[in-house]
């Protein structure tokens, strides 16, 4: 069964916040279909009872003491910031998913 990624492209591109040109989208759909087709081979394997590996190190978490250290000077914090105002980072209008309606 072939994977047809073209239906998924728009949704995934939105989830990833990637704007794609129409040609890009088409090419992406083909390439991703190929890649995923290959990757699906792992579904052949019987992995029942196998714990997933999220860390190769079998170590417990490191905990540090609750001590404060000096923070970065403001100039360094903002030295790469595209848009600032009064030492805040400035962003354009937040529309996001939620809009207020009466």
């Amino acid at each position: 069964m072939n994977i047809d990624f073209s239906k998924e492209v728009d949704y995934v591109a939105h989830l990833a916040r990637l704007s794609l040109e129409p040609k890009e989208k088409e090419r992406m759909a083909d390439q991703l279909s190929d890649i995923l087709q290959t990757a699906r081979r792992i579904q052949e394997l019987d992995t029942s009872g196998v714990e997933p590996t999220s860390h190769v190190l079998n170590l417990p978490a490191v905990l540090r003491d609750d001590v404060t250290e000096p923070s970065l000077p403001l100039s360094r914090v903002l030295q790469n910031t595209p848009r600032c105002e009064n030492n805040f980072v400035r962003v354009p209008k937040i529309t996001v998913q939620e809009q207020l309606e009466e």
Binding site: H55, A61, E69, V77, F88, P92
Partner: protein, 478 residues
């Protein structure tokens, strides 16, 4: 048709650590924007998180105070979404293996004890703070971000949908705040943003087992607002259902100004956060000894204190409640009670005059030395001073921490009493105020207060009012 109200709460609390959850930046509130930041909490390329031990300790302590099961193994996950206040475009949180499960909080509603279950308690990181040009996100052309708050440790507490009214929700939150304050985990200041609450509310026909469609309510900035918003929602949903309509699953924004909830149009379905285990942090493994130490060092919790106050000091439930919810005041009471045995008198003074004076002069309970109150009460009991003077001395003690005993001897504030001292003054005032004297003789009781007041003025407030009353009365009846 009568509807049952089903409410669940989701509470976020900032933990009382010095440094942030994953880095050593300060958590101090109120600093200049973007001055408490570093590569880690800004999510700069190449930065990595490291757990703050204290945050883990405080989370476990809070969870213990809420009767939960601490999970020896827990794990952190990434919750991925895009928003300008989220520096890494993911929040490090806990998804399917939280720090604590189950748990409950008992609350008293109309003298009945109710148990509200908790579904989960987990640790996660705070995002930055967004401010919108203008007043609301709706009208703003642009927004400003301050990342000082980003990375502060947050405890998320989710209740089971077992709350049945706005009032119960408020009582729950108040008790939760007290418990967590006592546990030392958080200072729970909603006005500083260290405590936030969202609610889910649905209605179902009484007796039905199925849950109705729920609405999520956000943007409630005080416990009172929570109560009002939920009450409003109950009415709104009742109206919809009574008219034969269906409640749609939506998020509502509480508008404090208009005192109503406003629905927000969301995308179909919920967001896809693509949770997966955080690869930069190893799983949290808590030793039994670590947990035991925290159990042992758990301070006395509110419920225990209230019971103890009732038993040990014979306080009534309201008094025990007040002296618990205001821990500092209760501490003053307890300390004073070690040196003063008339607990009834003590509690009246503490929750009456003392509380009043503290508020009047804007003093914190920690600033007041309970010894001063004991001094005062002992002098009063011995008759060395009268009540009005005592009140004044208390005021000075609260304001400046001055010893009442010292003031009395320095300024000669001792009580003036005894017929030989007072009778001449009584006679003097009567002769100087014949109308008032006549007024009283004619049955106007108020005139007595006037006459007594005159003697008080002459004696700089030191005369014993009770004795004066008696002397005036006797003299005027003659």
């Amino acid at each position: 048709m009568k509807h049952e109200v089903i409410i669940g709460l989701e509470i976020h609390l900032e933990l009382l650590t010095q440094s942030k959850l994953f880095c050593s930046c300060s958590t101090a509130f109120g600093r200049e924007p973007n001055t408490n930041c570093c590569p880690v909490c800004l999510g700069l390329p190449g930065s990595l998180p490291v757990f703050n031990r204290r945050a883990v300790e405080l989370s476990v302590t809070a969870a213990l105070a809420l009767n939960s099961n601490i999970q020896k193994q827990s794990r952190f996950d990434r919750k991925n979404y895009f928003y300008p206040d989220l520096p890494k475009a993911y929040q490090v949180s806990q998804y399917d293996r939280p720090l604590a499960k189950a748990g409950y909080l008992e609350i008293e509603v109309d003298e009945n004890m109710r148990t509200i279950s908790l579904e989960r308690i987990h640790l996660e990181e705070e995002a930055g703070k967004l401010m919108h040009a203008g007043d609301s996100i709706r009208d703003a052309d642009y927004s400003l971000v301050d990342y000082n708050r980003a990375g502060i440790p947050l405890l998320e507490i989710v209740t089971a949908p077992e709350i049945h009214s706005g009032r119960e929700a408020r009582i729950f939150l108040e008790e939760l705040r007290t418990v967590l304050f006592y546990s030392g985990a958080s200072d729970c200041k909603m006005e500083e943003g260290s405590l936030r609450c969202d609610a889910n509310i649905s209605l179902r026909p009484a007796g039905s087992a199925q849950l109705g469609t729920k609405a999520e309510v956000k943007n409630m900035n005080s416990f009172r607002a929570v109560e009002m918003a939920l009450d409003y929602e109950v009415k709104r949903q009742e109206a919809v259902l009574s008219a034969g309509g269906i409640v749609t699953q939506e998020t509502c924004h509480w508008d404090e100004g208009q005192k109503r909830t406003i629905p927000m149009r969301g995308k179909e379905g919920s967001s896809d956060y693509r949770y997966f285990p955080e690869p930069d942090l190893l799983p949290l493994s808590l030793e039994a000894s670590f947990i035991e130490n925290l159990v042992d060092s758990l301070p006395e919790l509110p419920q225990q204190r209230r019971s103890r106050f009732k038993e040990q000091y014979q306080l009534d439930p309201n008094e025990a409640f007040l002296l618990t919810v205001n821990r500092g005041l209760g501490d003053i009471f307890e300390k004073a009670a070690r040196h003063y045995s008339d607990h009834r008198n003590l509690v009246n003074w503490v929750q009456g005059d003392l509380l009043y004076q503290l508020r009047e002069h804007g003093r914190k309970t920690e600033e007041f030395d309970s010894k001063l109150l004991v001094e005062l009460l002992l002098m009063l009991d011995d008759g060395k001073i009268n009540r009005p003077v005592a009140k004044e001395l208390l005021s000075k003690a609260v304001q400046k921490g001055v010893s009442p005993q010292k003031l009395v001897s320095e300024r000669g504030l001792g009580r003036i009493s005894g017929q030989e001292n007072l009778l001449p003054l009584v006679e003097q005032v009567i002769s100087e105020n014949p109308e008032a004297a006549d007024s009283y003789r004619q049955g106007k009781k108020k005139a007595l207060g006037f006459l007594v007041g005159k003697v008080m003025a002459l004696t700089g407030g030191r005369a014993d009012p009770a004795e004066l009353n008696r002397l005036f009365d006797e003299k005027l009846q003659q």
